[in-house]
Symmetry: C2
Subunit: 249 residues, 2 copies
DNA sequence: CGTGTTGGACGAACGTTGTTCGTTACGAAC
DNA sequence: GTTCGTAACGAACAACGTTCGTCCAACACG
């Protein structure tokens, strides 16, 4: 952040015949890790919409073409960033006797990590998870269900559905985050207030004779925030899984 | 599709001083409906990635600027297309006594419609539903839950979660559809085969000592197709809702 | 120590994209 | 018959992902 591109300001231009030898710049050394880090930082600070190859290159004081030696393209970069984020999730030792509790904790943990890097979920749903840390999470989830007594084939689907729910919810949340940024706001609470007010106003304006239930219960529609909704749906799914577990009291 | 732009081929160019009067073209009349229809057709045939303002304009024999008189921008156009698709869902008369059955049928119906316009779900998750038909669906869902005896505030969250699940699954499916198209395939079955084989091969190649469960049960991981997975997760949620319904046998 | 070779860095450019500006010309209202 | 609002439109802008060809620094080898 200290030696940004500043040429063209306060400098005497070099004579054109001097074939522009770079004076003492010992040629930056890029690396995939450096590119991923930079991309993740941009994504955290400025959001997914601001994350472009050019933006990453600019942060690294180079041109966009330089990145392609380390990264196949934007899609791969997003997958790599996503997997780096997943590396932050902490997994406990599996304890099949407490499978439901652990499943719940796992979901909340993943949800927390995805929420911490607000916009990454918006890229996550678009990638097929084949990264190191993604598999690590899958092994935990799948192993826990199987050890708890679920048939492997059913456990596979249950894992898939639970993951979809977690990422889907995080995706939706990150959309709101993007909207907040687009509106120029910084405080999530302030945005939530205005968003809720906007929705409420809209629902109050629709014809009550056609949509009586929605209009009558507007306040209930906007009562719970994102975290409460996520937990409710999570328990819905977990209870459903529990009902399918063999020999359960 | 018959009178496409063909000037510049086989025609003597008009003298430059003739200020290019359009000869007999009675000025196309655009409309929002026409634009939505065109957009939906492109989305169905060529996918979301091919749907650009320029592409729509081209299909209408005009320039992209002409669209902005009827549509605020691409985002609004996508919302309008999405709501038009939602207009295809058929809703029965509500029967609270059979709420679970109807909820299930509703979910399958929405899923079917979203699947019929393969790529629309990829745009759906990105929009906040405020269209006519979206509200209509919401009223059905919400009313059904409340009439079945659920407290309105809880019904609001349950509706939200169920909707998220449906759209989220359709979104994931449409991603695969896009991948299929990108791979140049046409047959979904063929794509499914190759995709499954690819995933299986990948999972078989990861170190078994670190991920024993995943490696051992590769075949189970890829056993069920998208429709079966959707139904399993749906029943998971519906059972969870049932458990929360008051005074249920 | 000299010489080849290789792979990363990079400037420039291509083909798209969404959107805006300023102008034109039609159709309806007076 | 004139006026006037507004839809249509051509051109352009800024930004995007990606590719091509060139150039140089560092390594391997004799």
């Amino acid at each position: 952040m200290v030696d940004r591109k500043e040429r063209g300001e306060g400098e005497v231009p070099a004579p054109p015949w001097r074939r522009s030898r770079k004076p003492a710049q010992p040629r930056r050394q890029l690396s995939q890790d450096l590119i991923i880090d930079t991309g993740l930082r941009i994504l955290d600070v400025e959001g997914l919409d601001a994350l472009s190859m050019r933006r990453v290159a600019q942060e690294l004081d180079t041109g966009p073409a330089s990145l392609y030696a380390h990264v196949a393209g934007k899609e791969e970069l997003l997958e790599l960033i996503y997997d780096r984020v997943l590396s932050e999730i902490r997994l406990p030792a599996r304890d099949p006797a407490r499978w439901k509790e652990q499943l719940r904790a796992y979901a909340l943990e993943v949800h927390r990590v995805l929420g911490a890097h607000a916009d990454v979920a918006r890229a996550a749903l678009a990638t097929i998870p084949t990264g190191e840390h993604s598999i690590r999470a899958g092994e935990f989830l799948f192993g826990l269900l199987v050890e708890a007594g679920m048939a492997p084939r059913e456990a596979a689907v249950a894992m898939d559905r639970l993951s979809l729910y977690i990422v889907g919810d995080a995706y939706e949340a990150s959309l709101h985050y993007a909207r907040m940024r687009a509106a120029g706001m910084d405080d999530p609470e302030e945005y939530f207030e205005s968003f809720v007010a906007q929705i409420a106003g809209y629902y109050r304006a629709i014809p009550p004779e056609r949509f009586p239930y929605l209009v009558k219960h507007v306040d209930d529609l906007i009562a719970d925030d994102g975290e409460q909704r996520f937990r409710y749906g999570l328990d819905l799914i977990l209870d459903g899984i529990e009902a399918r577990m063999p020999r359960d009291p």
